[in-house]
């Protein structure tokens, strides 16, 4: 069985609510069968709108969405066969857990025996067997969330949409639910489209992540690529921490470029979004890629003054004043060698040009 790599396809989709502003601009996105894809972005970036269009609660203003090669814009939500987990669970408060799960089966006229079997299976999948007769109000937040997940899966939909499903849970529960949802996805192989604004959640769970901003997909790639190789300054900024230097390209070769910073000093960087000298750029560097007092030979070596030291247990965050950037962050692993990190000290900071990515100036 070959998997369809265009199981869900957004084809040139535009969406506007008021005819003046486009909230989704020219969206082209292919989702493969069995994939766990996350739409990540700040609020108002259009990610939830995309999900609602896929679910059928909003219609695309222009373009078409295909599900398994069939256009679905004219199919009402209840005929799409797409499971959905809502932000606030949306469990039916007047029905027991069993009735909640049986609802999608009942409307599909599944026999009583079959329903019992499926509900049993779905509940054991989220490890809630024995909760059939509870009302949703008697369950904790995490349990309600699991019921919502089970309900979205019980009728074997081909695609499951999740709209910030873990937003209302506390941190510990959220993390354990992330793994649980990931494992469920791995074991049943359903296609999942997940919407969140929490980058940690996205990085943990997804096969691929689509970073949304301003109605557009900024980057679509696997979590590691997204973090290691952001293609523009928005993604670099939005995913994880990063140190930024703005400047102007003064010299460029195939895989290296010289960037003249605003304070006059020059650094070597990896040209990603710049093509010729004279262009303005922002150089992005992950905090963990810059080392202090290292013996390794690196292309960029500078001295900076320690402005602030925050102790985090396993590592220490150090804020430096480096090359005119007063918010240069370093993460120093907790080891006995790094004892001279004190406020006001000057330290040597080094990094490779490959890790310093020269991106668009935005």
């Amino acid at each position: 069985m070959s998997k369809n790599s265009e199981f869900v396809k957004f084809d040139k989709v535009d969406k506007s609510y008021d005819g003046k502003v486009l909230v989704v601009k020219d969206l082209n996105l292919d989702i493969a069968e069995g994939e766990f894809i996350t739409m990540l972005g700040p609020s108002g970036s259009g990610k939830t709108t995309c999900l609602m269009m896929l679910a059928g609660f909003e219609t695309p203003t222009n373009g078409e969405i295909y599900l398994d090669s069939n256009p679905i814009s004219n199919i009402p939500p209840h005929k799409r066969g797409i499971g959905m987990v809502f932000q606030n669970y949306a469990l039916f408060p007047h029905m027991t857990v069993y009735e909640n799960l049986a609802f999608p089966l009942k409307v599909r006229k599944v026999s009583k025996d079959e329903t019992d079997k499926k509900v049993d299976k779905a509940l054991s999948m989220v490890s809630l067997s024995g909760f059939e007769n509870r009302m949703p109000g008697q369950l904790s937040g995490g349990q309600q969330q699991r019921v919502a997940v089970a309900r979205a899966l019980v009728f074997d939909p081909s695609v499951v949409l999740m709209d910030e499903p873990l937003g209302a849970l506390d941190k510990n529960l959220r993390e354990s639910m992330q793994y649980e949802i990931k494992h469920i996805h791995e074991s049943i192989g359903v296609t999942v489209v997940y919407v969140t604004h929490d980058q940690g959640e996205a990085l943990t769970m997804s096969n691929r992540i689509a970073v949304f901003n301003d109605g557009k997909v900024q980057q679509l790639s696997s979590p590691d690529k997204l973090y290691e190789e952001p293609v523009n300054s928005f993604v670099a900024e939005f995913i994880g921490e990063n140190n930024r230097f703005s400047g102007q390209v003064s010299d460029i070769s195939k895989d290296k470029c010289k960037v003249k910073l605003d304070d006059g000093s020059e650094i070597l960087a990896n040209p990603i979004a710049v093509k010729s000298s004279g262009e303005k750029t922002i150089v992005s560097l992950r905090p963990e890629r810059a080392l202090i007092n290292t013996k390794e030979k690196m292309e960029n070596n500078f001295k900076g003054k320690i402005e602030e030291v925050i102790y985090h247990g396993d590592h220490t965050r150090v804020r430096l004043n480096l090359l005119g950037n007063k918010d240069f962050i370093l993460k120093v692993p907790n080891s006995s060698a790094n004892m001279d990190i004190k406020l006001g000290n000057q330290i040597n900071v080094s990094w490779n040009s490959f890790d310093a990515r020269a991106l668009d100036p935005k």
């Binding site: 059928g56 209840h78 606030n88 609802f103 979205a152």
Partner: protein
Amino acid sequence: MSSETQKILTTDGIPLEESLRKAEKKNKIKAFLLVCPLLLFLIITYVFPIGDMLFRSVDDRMVTKMLPKTYKAMEQWDGKELPPEEVFKGFYLDYKKLVEEKTFGKLATQLNYEKNGFKSILKKLKRKMKKFEEGNYKEQIMSVHKRWANVEYWRALKRRAPSYSYSKYLKGIDMYENEDGQIVQVPEDRRVHKILWMRTLEVALFVTIFCFLMAYPIAHLLATLPMKYSNLLMICVLLPFWTSLLVRTASWMILLQQQGIVNDFFVWIGLVADDNRPEMMYNKTGTYVAMTQILLPFMVLPLYSVMKTISPSLMRAGKSLGGTPFIAFWKIYFPLTIPGIGAGCLLVFILAIGYYITPALVGGASGTLISNQIAFHMKSTLDWSFASAMGLMLLTGVLAIYWVYNKLVGVDNIKLG
């Protein structure tokens, strides 16, 4: 065993319970004082009048007090044949006293309620009584009018002997206690109250249904529209609510009368002929239309407050799980609005069942309700005890409906706002 029953002491050695009571005492007094004005207000304006009403409806001491000697003598009388001389003598003495005190009119009115024809013979007796001689009052009284020799009238007099009676309640449901002490229905042509009770129930029921049918979509729209529009719509719902009841009823009279705007419109679009304009007022139609409009906000508001709390994602969830819009509505949305429906229906029904001014103005003869009858007896016939009895019957009915509702839906499920 002993350690379990041992009282826990505070550090000062006072039993914990006692210490707690002391600590809470001040707060309790404060709370009571805060509630006190309302409590007094309720007792004065609610408990006393209702109690007085209950008492009036069964109080029948007026006649008993007016004729003490008669009733004393009547204790020996078996009621089969004309009473003995002592009864006539007692009656003469009692009545003479009443005439001297000039309060005999009240007696005449009361006795006439009991049996028609009492008034005239009492008046005649008053005139002839001046020439009565001492002794043999039976002969003398019987010679005044032939009705005095009719045992029926004396039986009617005896029936008023007890200080308390439930006869008003019987009258309220078109029954009475006949000469043999049996409870029977009044003749068919005089059964007015039963019709009124049934009509009141019918009007209240239909007004509730009409209100529900109209309010449900309005409330749904109010709860789902964006704030900008829903506020405007809310004002449209409440605007009539802020207008005087009398003004609204009067404006319905302008609209519904035979030469009114609605009829003009019907004639204009050719729905009815000009010489055949339907009567929409001074009958049940008028009562239905006006009461539905007036009571509509009482249905909209509880429904709205309940619908506002239903998350729109529930309907979406229902649809995404495969339910058609109708199934999603019927299985998910509707059951969640039941507390609002209950509250709204109960409110409208209870208000409608005791509604007075609108049916009085637009109801005409076939559209008046039991409350109009109560008002009639309060103001026109001055039979307050009968009005009280009917008022209490109405109150009992409302309480019964509340009880049934509680059994069926549960009062905890009511949501008023």
